[in-house]
């Protein structure tokens, strides 16, 4: 699995990713992400790399930050 920088024009890609979601409801956005995962997986086409990516995505959940930012979001939603 590659984890060194390999995305050309990272800021341009990030903007394009956000723009792809523009105007969608959150459910539609989640569905788009699922389709995107499957499309990108098919580009990789290597079982070992795919398994490594699945494991890395699961491992990077960021537990502590998770709780803190959920709290903030709740506060903001409550306003």
């Amino acid at each position: 699995m590659r984890t060194d920088p390999n995305i050309p024009d990272p800021d341009g890609f990030y903007e394009a990713l956000l723009d792809t979601h523009a105007g969608l409801s959150i459910e539609e956005s989640h569905a788009l992400n699922a389709r995107l995962v499957l499309l990108l997986a098919n580009q990789i086409g290597d079982a070992a790399v795919l398994r490594a990516c699945l494991a890395a995505a699961r491992a990077s959940a960021g537990q502590n930050r998770d709780t803190a930012s959920r709290d903030t979001q709740n506060r903001e939603t409550a306003r």
Partner: protein, 555 residues
């Protein structure tokens, strides 16, 4: 220098106040026409005045105030980028900025106590100036005023407020108000550096297409005793700021700029209240740290961009022409670089060495630079203030992956630091050049030393080709035919050309036979392999908007 007759105390700073002098037009003198009238004594206007003064061009600068900065110690720009520092080196104020300011090159994105990502801009830098110096904007303006007075070419008129500009084909007329009444002044060229709310631009009815950002921020400039490294620290989700973003950066006099992202619906008056600001700082700095608040200012972002930075005899620089959010220090630095781009073109036009159409290239080069800055800063703004829940989820994925995986750190966007714009589509280029040439060490000094002097001259750096012994004299003859260029032999000697050695040669990619044509603003006009006099003249003609055969404009 007797820079001022008085001082004003503000925010713990002691700033100069400049004397208002009754203008000659109101003291019985005739109405006369000046080559250049600059309106606005901020960063870009003073840089323009200083640049023109260095070139021997007489100008009048009109400013509605009588001091530098904005009254009330408003903080404004603090980060001066390498390209700006190179310009200040050429103008003669770099040493004062370096002595007063904080030199830095390391930036970090911090998550709690953990560094997610850090960068160091110093390695790989080829310039004699560092990547960045932090210093309060008013100090830079102060040094510029001192230097302008020292050069003695500029009529600095304080408390002279421009109320209207009207223009014809040959010149413009400015209406000015002073404590002694109103008068009119004529100018071949007007440089509008009056900033965001330019009355000149608005008076001419020129649109700016403004957009206001929703995101709210609050700056605290603060002195405190806590030993921290002189690095740029940013938090995307700071626990001490309700998981919103924070910037922390040191400037001169031990004052820290701390910029807090506020809740989207925050009330500007409330968040800048002394008790609220102090509580925020207390949460950030911890219970033990003594601090003194210098200035607190809430703000929100806006962008605007003029359609054309030239309108007849009026040229628009700095915030009058373009405004962007402050991420990456692109505002002030781009105003300085506007002035740098315009100065040499005005000088050559006024000296009859280039046609007026050269001034159109100011817009052709600086408007794309401003549009680029707006795009870059808007992307940062969107990273820091996600517009939807999904944008927030994607940002969180980037943060989560960044701890372990280097690729994700490049997606963390807390500001992309100001870098000089490459004028790759400029009509002045021969080939797709246009990049800024770093201020490399050459001979006994640096590249910018070669660009000093009256008027404006290009510098041709040529690495002699031993196989063509007659070429040196032929290249020297190009300068003697009246083109504004100084030709140097780099590396190997080649009589009769002056010779330069130094570590900069390799950095510039100067292989034998290659000639680099460097513009007076230190951008690259042409890279000519197997150089010869005809190719040099053709590149000069293009960069000056002159016909190739038009060598003898001043002969």
């Amino acid at each position: 220098m007797t820079g001022s007759s008085a001082r004003v105390q503000t925010g713990g700073y002691d700033l100069p106040v400049y004397d208002y002098v009754r203008p000659p037009e109101l003291a019985g003198g005739p109405r006369r026409r000046y080559p250049v009238v600059i309106v606005g004594g901020g960063l870009s206007g003073l840089t323009a005045a200083c640049d023109l003064a260095c070139r021997g061009i007489e100008a009048v600068l009109l400013d509605e105030d009588d001091t530098i900065g904005v009254r009330g110690a408003s903080s404004r720009g603090i980060c001066y980028a390498q390209k700006s520092l190179e310009i200040f080196d050429r103008l003669g104020i770099y040493q004062r900025i370096r002595d007063k300011g904080i030199t830095w090159s390391v930036g970090k994105v911090v998550e709690g106590e953990e560094v997610l990502y850090s960068f160091d801009l110093a390695p790989g830098s080829a310039s004699a100036q560092p990547p960045f110096i932090n210093i309060q904007q008013f100090y830079v303006e102060w040094f510029l005023v001192d230097r302008i007075r020292e050069l003695g070419r500029t009529d600095l008129r304080w408390k002279n407020r421009v109320t209207a500009v009207r223009q014809g084909a040959e010149h413009a007329v400015l209406s000015v108000e002073t404590p002694d009444g109103a008068y009119e002044i004529e100018a071949d060229w007007v440089v509008d550096a009056t900033g965001l709310a330019s009355p000149i631009r608005d008076g001419l009815g020129l649109p700016t297409h403004p957009e206001r950002g929703e995101d709210r921020w609050c700056i605290s400039d603060v002195r405190f005793r806590k030993p921290l490294p002189t690095e740029r620290w940013t938090w995307v989700e700071a626990p001490f700021n309700e998981n919103r973003a924070v910037w922390q950066h040191l400037m001169a006099d031990g004052v820290w700029r701390i910029d807090y992202q506020m809740a989207p619906n925050a009330d500007p008056a409330e968040v800048s209240r002394t008790e609220v600001a102090e509580a925020r700082l207390r949460a950030h700095l911890g219970p033990e740290v003594e601090f003194e608040v210098v200035w607190v200012g809430p703000y929100s972002y806006r962008t605007h961009l003029m359609d054309d930075f030239r309108c007849g005899r009026v040229l628009f620089i700095g915030d009058a022409a373009h405004v962007m959010s402050p991420f990456g220090a692109r505002g002030g630095n781009s105003g300085i670089q506007d002035a740098d781009n315009l100065g040499w073109k005005l000088a050559l036009v006024l000296r009859g060495e280039a046609p007026e159409s050269l001034l159109d290239s100011f817009d052709a080069e600086r408007r794309p630079a401003a549009a680029h800055n707006i795009k870059v800063t808007s992307r940062t703004g969107r990273f820091l203030a996600p517009r939807t829940e999904m944008e927030r989820i994607i940002r969180k994925a980037v943060l989560d992956l960044s701890t372990e995986h280097p690729f994700a750190r490049l997606l963390l966007n807390t500001g992309r630091m100001s870098a000089p714009f490459r004028y790759d589509a400029s009509p002045l280029n021969t080939g797709a050049e246009g990049e800024a040439v770093p201020n490399v060490r050459l001979g006994e000094g640096v590249l910018s030393d070669l660009l000093r002097g009256e008027g404006a001259a290009f510098v041709a750096l040529w690495a002699p080709d031993p196989a063509q012994p007659g070429l040196a004299a032929a290249l020297q003859a190009v300068a003697e035919r009246g083109w504004p260029v100084r030709v140097f032999a780099c590396g190997a000697e080649a009589q009769p050309l002056p010779h330069l050695s130094g570590s900069g040669m390799g950095l510039l990619g100067l292989t034998p036979g290659t000639l680099l044509l460097v513009r007076p603003d230190q951008h690259l006009a042409a890279r000519i392999r197997d150089a010869d006099p005809a190719a040099l003249e053709a590149a000069l003609a293009r960069a000056l908007c002159r016909a190739p055969s038009d060598a003898l404009a001043r002969a």
